[in-house]
């Protein structure tokens, strides 16, 4: 996608693991306020792209720009604080924490170190307010004081996304958000994404569930063997013979 001044732009990103080329010269971008999808068969390099954007891996070559600033040399926590939040393919919640704790811990620091080290209930009303807002937005009030890992799968997914959103990111990366969800949960998540998007959040998501992808994404990138083999509006991509052959055809 070649829109002017995108929020995120990857140019010529390459990643080698020893002799294996996981990504070869990948360029793609996420314009502001859009929901962009990444599809492709397993092992195509989709999650590797997420790991490079978030700094979990460093790219062998290429650049990653957020808001026009290079971020490929920053550490994961610095990238997160610049405004990129993510979820994981296999949910990674904090085992000892309640839903409420998750919504507090991911928020950026405001004010002095003392404010951070004193009980949040006295010292940091802003953080509590933000957590409360996200709790209500995601409809998680009933689960507030439950251990997040003890909740049903679909709700755990929601908590993970809520944790990402509570940091106030510009860009949200979702790695297979509806995997393992039933239809109702998947519809709920779609509506949530639309509401977040309406509030100005840009989204990049990896997903195998094609009906979901077709409904929510404004633009798609199709990966295979570590390269972008097609891109465009979901309707165009769906009819692209290269894509049918490499990916969609397998499912149909």
């Amino acid at each position: 996608m070649n829109g002017a001044d995108p929020l995120l732009r990857l140019s010529g990103v390459t990643k080698h693991f020893g002799g294996i080329i996981a990504l070869a010269n990948v360029s793609c971008s996420v314009p502001r306020g859009r929901i962009v999808g990444v599809i492709g068969p397993n092992g195509a390099g989709k999650t590797t792209v997420f790991n490079i954007i978030t700094g979990a891996y460093s790219a062998t070559a290429g650049t990653v720009m957020l808001d026009g600033q290079p971020i490929q040399d920053l550490k994961p926590h610095q990238i997160a604080r610049r405004g990129i939040a993510r979820t994981f393919q296999n949910i990674r919640l904090f085992a000892s924490m309640t839903v409420w704790d998750h919504l507090l811990v991911a928020q950026p620091h405001r004010g002095s170190a003392l404010r951070l080290a004193l009980p949040a209930s006295w010292a940091d009303p802003d953080a509590l307010q933000q957590a409360e807002k996200v709790l209500v937005f995601f409809g998680l009030e009933a689960h507030r004081d439950r251990l997040a890992k003890s909740l049903p799968y679909g709700i755990q997914r929601k908590v993970e996304i809520a944790r990402a959103v509570t940091a106030g990111p510009k860009l949200l990366l979702l790695d297979e958000p509806v995997a393992g969800m039933n239809e109702q949960e998947s519809d709920d998540l779609r509506d949530l994404l639309f509401r977040l998007n309406r509030d100005g959040l840009s989204v990049l998501l990896i997903e195998h569930d094609m009906p979901f992808v077709m409904q929510v994404c404004d633009y798609l990138y199709v990966f295979d063997f570590g390269a972008v083999i097609a891109e465009g509006h979901p309707d165009l991509v769906r009819r692209n013979p290269v894509v049918l052959d490499a990916y969609l055809g397998q499912e149909g």
Binding site: H77, F94, M97, L104, V105, Q107, A117, A120
Partner: protein, 279 residues
Amino acid sequence: MISTYNAGLFAEIGILILGALSVYVILSTGQLSLGNAGFMGIGAYQTSFLTVEAGLPITLALLVSAIGCAALGFLVGFPALRLRGIYLAIATLGFGEMVRSLFLNLDRLGGAGGYHGMKSISGVYIWSWTLGILVAIMLLERSRLWLEFRAVHDDETAAGLVGLNATAIKVGAFGLGAGIAGIAGGLFAHHYLYIEPGNFGFERSIEFVLAAILGGSTVAPGAVVGAGLLVLLPEWLRFLADWRLAAFGALLVLMLLIRRQGILDRTTFSRLGLRRRAA
């Protein structure tokens, strides 16, 4: 009036609680330190030097030593970042033994002959520090910083990706734990009035870890229960004469088999909290 003997036990528990808390703070970020007796030793010698040779009042000397130990904890924390689990435990154990042999060879501080000349402090003074630090940690446990400690403990990678600087958090916890161990050392020196390098060996570090884990390593008051039991249990078992230490060991094993999470845990606490609210 309590007897001198009981007053001694009382002081011993207060100091051991601080040792256990020093391990607890580091453990809360998922790092096991077997070298906290090293920090305790440095705190003991440093505080004693400051009160005996520089004539500083004890409270000021303790604060200076705590800062010194915390700074050293940061330094030790950095190389320790590369290590995890059992390897970190062994490295910290090495640090503790290194400190012990350093004091053994430091003739200026008495070497193997030990160091003395400190003025005695009361059990109440010791417990003022113990309770002060306990309350401070319990307040810290309700802060966002403590949630960050727990996030790093639970999943360091995910913590980094939600914006937490795991390096700073781990090193910070090490520094804080070292500072607390330093205070425990200063109090120890001014309670026993004589210190030697052997006081701060490997067994002392193990004792701290044992107190923290036995009492419950997910809540600060666990250190109080653990330290109390470690000091008092062998006393209560005196009727068993020669068998008392064996019985003590067996009880420890039994207790950990029944309650692996320690005597107190977060659930106990939330239940107590609910009951109080309901009452």
